[in-house]
């Protein structure tokens, strides 16, 4: 990074740290923070979409659809989410490869699951065996995104289902009395009104999602936890920057990062909630009116 970093062994004090903290591997760690933020930015809308359709299915008049929706919203209640994380990341990978296998190699006769092996034809490998390193990383990341979205979609479905139920029944009946069809009632009355009820749950969900991002490490993505362990471990004289076991300080840094991130999110979400509560006929809105805000 800096010019005086050419010979790390001769450095001391501030210069040593300046060079150490800007080494190539540290740059990778700083980029990993970007990975975490990217995961949040991509996962949140997809999870919302899953949650929305899950909640819609859960209150559908068709039994089969309702069963699927209820099962999806209920799945996170009894089973630890980490089980789903570990399960989906393999299940999705094998599912995708199996579908590719059916499409690309219809004449393949050997069984795919043979004893302790899961073997599809080479053309069905996702990504293909000879593709570049970044494609493998990208695929791993997308798999993690989909896994996160599936699990958090179930949480979001819970929140949105509750919010849809919380919209006063009289509102929907009035709309029906005016001759609106079911779809129109849903689109024009239910959905616009449910967000006030959904917001507290959704803001909690956002905080939970932030705090779940270190689990990326378990899904095999080179995230900040991976780099903290990698860089913090004791380095012998064979390395450019030898140092004792510093993992404690790296994890302390991650802790501060997460504390700051959740705190800032909390402040922003409180502002949004105050903005939405203003003038509403709810307890929060009434409290604001009395306080003269």
């Amino acid at each position: 990074m800096f010019e005086f970093c050419a010979d790390p062994k001769s450095l001391e004090g501030f210069q040593w740290f300046a060079c150490y903290l800007t080494s190539g591997k540290h740059m990778n760690m700083y980029w990993a923070f970007g990975t975490v933020l990217l995961l949040l930015a991509v996962t949140a809308p997809i999870a919302m979409l899953f949650g929305f359709f899950g909640a819609m299915a859960a209150r559908s008049p068709f039994f089969a659809l309702r069963l699927i929706g209820k099962g999806y919203t209920g799945m996170v209640r009894g089973v630890p989410d980490i089980v789903f994380f570990l399960f989906f990341v393999i299940a999705l990978d094998q599912g995708i490869e199996y579908i590719m296998h059916l499409i690309r190699c219809p004449e393949w006769t050997e069984p795919v699951r043979n004893g302790l092996e899961f073997r599809v034809c080479p053309q069905a490998k996702v990504p293909l065996g000879n593709s570049a390193q970044w494609i493998h990383q990208f695929y791993g990341f997308m798999l993690a995104v989909l896994t996160f979205a599936l699990v958090f979609g179930a949480f979001a479905a819970n929140v949105l289902y509750g919010a849809m139920q919380a919209v006063p029944r009289a509102q929907l009946e009035t709309a029906e009395a005016y001759g609106l069809s079911h779809a129109q009632v849903f689109r024009r009355v239910l959905v616009p009104q449910m967000w006030v009820y959904a917001l507290p749950g959704l803001s909690n969900l956002w905080l939970i999602l932030i705090k779940a991002t270190p689990l990326l490490f378990l899904l095999g993505v080179q995230d900040i936890v991976y780099w903290a362990r990698e860089l913090g471990g004791a380095k012998t004289q064979a390395f450019d920057y030898p140092h004792p076991d510093w993992r404690l300080y790296y994890f302390l840094f991650l802790l501060v990062f997460y504390l700051g991130f959740t705190r800032v999110s909390e402040i922003v979400l409180n502002r949004i909630s105050a903005r939405l509560s203003k003038g509403q006929a709810t307890a929060a809105g009434e409290a604001m009116r009395k306080a003269g805000i």
Binding site: G78, P80, L86, R113, T213, L248, F251, L252, Y258
Partner: protein
């Protein structure tokens, strides 16, 4: 090996009793059920012990946070912020690294050497983290309940001449518990769920003695088949959750026994208490 023999060999494998070697090939359903069930002992241990000790500390912290005295309030607020604002996963890593820095030979306290090596073991170190973590989450729930005790109840207590500790013991505390219980039930459920993180964070599984998820992922790695072992863990946890809901529901019914039957707090999923 029949299924009974397998159960005999592996039922307490997670505690170090029975067969030492884990199965390496020809995995049977019976082996998976037995070993994962054996691991569940650890989940129950972490959950139950952390819940009981956490409950006591959570009460203290909730009252400290509700106190007018900043010397009591500020530390309680910071404690809750620290543990609720950061991921449990990072807390485990941090605690493990911090505990490893303790001197290996032990610490001298008034001439007596206190051993430190046990603190880095999961049964003590991870339990300690879970204990503090659940105390912080529960304290926030109890604090919220404390603030939403109906004003009339406290005024009525004073009108009857109850003050100080008598008022606290007979009115404030039971009402707080009653109001907090549905949310606290969810906290308990998710505490049991988060015990699965222990052996996936810094704490190593000594001699492959791990929890339910540890063995499930062992089988999934060996067989490349996630469709058997993970549903087994899921089944075990659903059973554990139902048991917990039943137990907490019984306590809830007792806390609400003086109320008309339609006024008791209903227990349902509340997302604010998930880690």
């Amino acid at each position: 090996m029949t299924c009974w023999e397998t159960i005999g060999a592996y039922a307490f494998r997670s505690l170090g009793y029975g067969e030492r070697l884990l199965p390496r090939s020809d995995f049977t359903l019976c082996q998976q059920f037995t070993l994962i069930g054996s691991g569940l002992i650890w989940n129950v241990y972490f959950g139950v012990v952390a819940l009981i000790f956490g409950f006591v500390l959570a009460n203290a912290i909730a009252f400290a946070k509700a106190s007018h005295n900043p010397i009591a309030r500020k530390p309680a607020e910071w404690f809750i912020f620290l543990f609720r604002g950061s991921p449990l996963f990072i807390q485990f890593f941090l605690a493990y690294e911090a505990l490893q820095l303790l001197p290996r030979a032990g610490i001298d306290v008034f001439g007596i050497t206190v051993q430190t090596s046990w603190t880095t073991k999961a049964w003590a170190g991870a339990l300690f983290v879970l204990f503090l973590n659940t105390a912080a989450y529960s304290a926030e729930i109890f604090y919220g309940a404390l603030r939403s005790i109906p004003k009339g109840d406290l005024e009525a207590a004073e009108a009857y001449g109850l003050t100080g500790f008598a008022k606290f013991r007979r009115i404030q505390w039971p009402t707080m518990l009653r109001l907090a219980w549905p949310a606290y039930t969810n906290e308990a459920i998710f505490l049991f769920h988060s015990t699965t993180l222990v052996y996936f964070s810094g704490f190593p599984a000594f001699q492959q003695r791990g929890d339910a998820l540890y063995y499930a992922s062992y089988f999934a790695d060996k067989t490349f088949n996630p469709f058997v072992s993970y549903p087994i863990v899921a089944g075990y946890f659903i059973a554990l959750t139902l048991l917990l809901i039943w137990l907490m529901g019984a306590i809830n019914a007792r806390l609400n026994r003086h109320l008309p039957s339609n006024m008791g707090g209903k227990i349902r999923l509340r997302l604010q208490v998930i880690r």
